[in-house]
Subunit: 231 residues, 2 copies
């Protein structure tokens, strides 16, 4: 029996990364899902990630504890910075939101590369998206290209083959509503996902943060009821 191809999938427990996991599975990859407790307000998303990893029959799900809360600088990791809830900056392309976590994707991708090297995966999937909300610098295609090059130059396999590792960002050019449509076609249960930046301790979305607004708008657009919303 031939070994199937392996992929490391960054799985946050949100809508985007759940869709990415479904895409990778649909492409025939064996999934190695990677999640982080990084000091985020919405730490409950890691529980969702665990459910999703099981749902997608991941070969392994690694959850790392990393200390980004000590670094701070973001509303998501510093309790003294409030999550914006007025929607005022939503879609403003020139503004980097305060929910931006400094260099977060660089940190996550670095870990993904490390684990990919160890488990023998060549493909690293990440649910970044440049269109709907373009304020995060580390969601841009040119950033991903540079990071792929860094990963190849900085790893054992990359020395032998500078195109060895591939960063796969299949949602990069999709609108949020297109992401949902693709996920539903692939059987994703979005009831297992959470997008809110500031949920209640029980995991109820606030409904007001930018991430909740984007999600609500997108489900409205595709005329589907969000299965994560309680009646």
């Amino acid at each position: 029996m031939s070994e199937s191809k392996k992929a490391v999938v960054l799985l946050s427990g949100g809508l985007d990364s759940a869709t990415v996991a479904a895409i990778a599975r649909d492409e025939g990859f064996t999934l190695f899902c990677l999640s982080f407790h990084y000091g985020q307000r919405q730490d409950i998303e890691v529980e969702k990630a665990q459910q999703l990893a099981a749902f997608f029959s991941a070969r392994e799900h690694l959850v790392l504890n990393i200390d980004m809360g000590l670094i701070g600088g973001s509303a998501l990791t510093d309790k003294n910075i409030a999550v914006p809830k007025t929607g005022a900056d939503l879609g403003a392309e020139e503004i980097i939101p305060i929910t931006y976590v400094p260099a977060r994707n660089t940190i996550f991708l670095a870990y993904a590369a490390s684990w990919a090297e160890v488990v023998g995966a060549r493909d690293i999937f990440i649910g970044v998206n440049a269109l709907d909300y373009s304020g995060y610098p580390d969601c841009r295609p040119e950033y991903l290209a540079a990071m792929q090059k860094s990963i190849n130059l900085g790893t054992r396999q990359g020395v032998e083959n500078s195109d060895y590792f591939r960063l796969q960002a299949p949602l990069l050019e999709l609108k949020k509503s297109e992401i949902i449509e693709q996920g539903i076609a692939l059987g994703v249960d979005y009831g297992m996902t959470i997008s809110c930046y500031d949920p209640s301790p029980e995991g109820r979305p606030c409904g007001l943060c930018d991430s909740c607004r984007l999600r609500e708008n997108a489900f409205h657009e595709v005329k589907i009821k969000d299965p994560a919303m309680k009646n």
Copy 2:
């Protein structure tokens, strides 16, 4: 009074990063030293880093707990893989040693970039060295150049100025003996440093691993007694 320029310095507690901290301080930087408990065998090096940060009057010393031991794949983070002690591969340019930790510098630099962004530092110092021991892929100049680009593209400041962050690797082209000479000229107390990959629980160097051998050879070459070696 004008604010002095700030630098994040990756400080391992080893000889190289201690020298780098001395260089950064000599260049007038205010130091923000960054160290990691990453599941390394030689975790005692973090105590040395704490002494060094105090010695160099660092403005802050941040020690992060990160979970690389769970990823494994290296003799430094996996207790089931032995640290080589025969010196057989030392200086063999084509061999990446088993003490290579997958993507470690990418992970460390990602954190350094995150913290640099938060504290307002523009310069990130790292003690990599391409000459004496060229087996680690993430110690190569082309890797550092790619990583600097990734950091600039993936951060808030980098969006406004794609040359904002600078990775400084002042030891890159130096021999180990030259590093020691430079450090001594700058007043580094190498008695505060540890280089061993596999020290005793009390912090005594094994004297046999590649890192001990390199250090011993270098002190021998400059005709100085290593102050870290007990009589």
